[in-house]
């Protein structure tokens, strides 16, 4: 089942060609389903998310997909600070502080695209004043935004 329509793929290809500057790595944390999946280790939306990301990253040479198993690749999991799956950690220029948990469907897909493009362009949508104030932050700040696909 194509998750991204052919028309959308063409539009995205065009958009990426126009807007992407730096390479972005999409680090995808998932697990491989097996007949003996233990309870608590299943991830029903992981296969679809993987397919979606494979489709997405095929649309630009500046996008790269790296796949990690959440349960066996614990070093990478801890390095990126991933707490649950499916998880997408966007990385550019060695910076990887944007994460998306859950299948990026509907509204979350748009925010994922925004994240990719913003990271790639290093141009912030924020006002200059805001950016200046944020430089003063001196405590860890963890922002979580909870959304639904509708």
């Amino acid at each position: 089942m194509a998750l991204i329509s052919e028309q959308d793929k063409a539009d995205l290809k065009r958009r990426f060609r126009k807007e992407l500057k730096k390479d972005v790595t999409i680090n995808f944390f998932t697990t491989t389903p097996s007949p003996l999946t233990l309870p608590g280790r299943d991830c029903p939306t992981c296969p679809q998310t993987q397919e979606l990301l494979e489709d997405l990253t095929s649309l630009s040479t500046k996008l790269r997909l790296e796949r990690y198993d959440f349960f066996s690749q614990t070093k990478e999991r801890d390095d990126y600070g991933v707490e649950r799956i499916p998880a997408i950690v966007l990385e550019a220029d060695g910076s990887s502080r944007l994460k998306y948990y859950g299948i990026p469907a509907g509204y979350e897909f748009a925010t994922l695209l925004e994240g990719i493009i913003t990271l790639s362009r290093s141009v912030s949508p924020l006002a200059l004043e805001t950016r200046k104030k944020l430089r003063k932050v001196n405590q860890p700040v963890h922002i979580q935004v909870f959304v639904t696909p509708s």
Partner: protein, 69 residues
């Protein structure tokens, strides 16, 4: 905002897949934003108000230097 300062990280979480999180953070309306588990709000905020919340949690006045005795 996460791009501006190394101390800031941001997660977007699709709660229908993680009902335990929806319960833990008492998510009924979306989007719901939670900062460091202490500040939270539902709906979107204008940029300057969002910034204020981030600064509430993320900025502490540096301790005044000890005067030499």
């Amino acid at each position: 905002m996460a791009l501006e300062n190394k101390l800031i990280s941001a997660d977007v979480v699709e709660v229908q897949e993680f009902p335990n999180l929806a319960r833990l953070y008492n998510v009924s309306g979306v989007p719901k934003t939670v900062i460091n588990d202490v500040v939270q709000f539902v709906g979107s905020l204008p940029e300057d108000q969002f910034l204020e919340k981030v600064m509430q949690v993320g900025y502490r006045e540096p301790e005044p230097a000890e005067d030499g005795a």
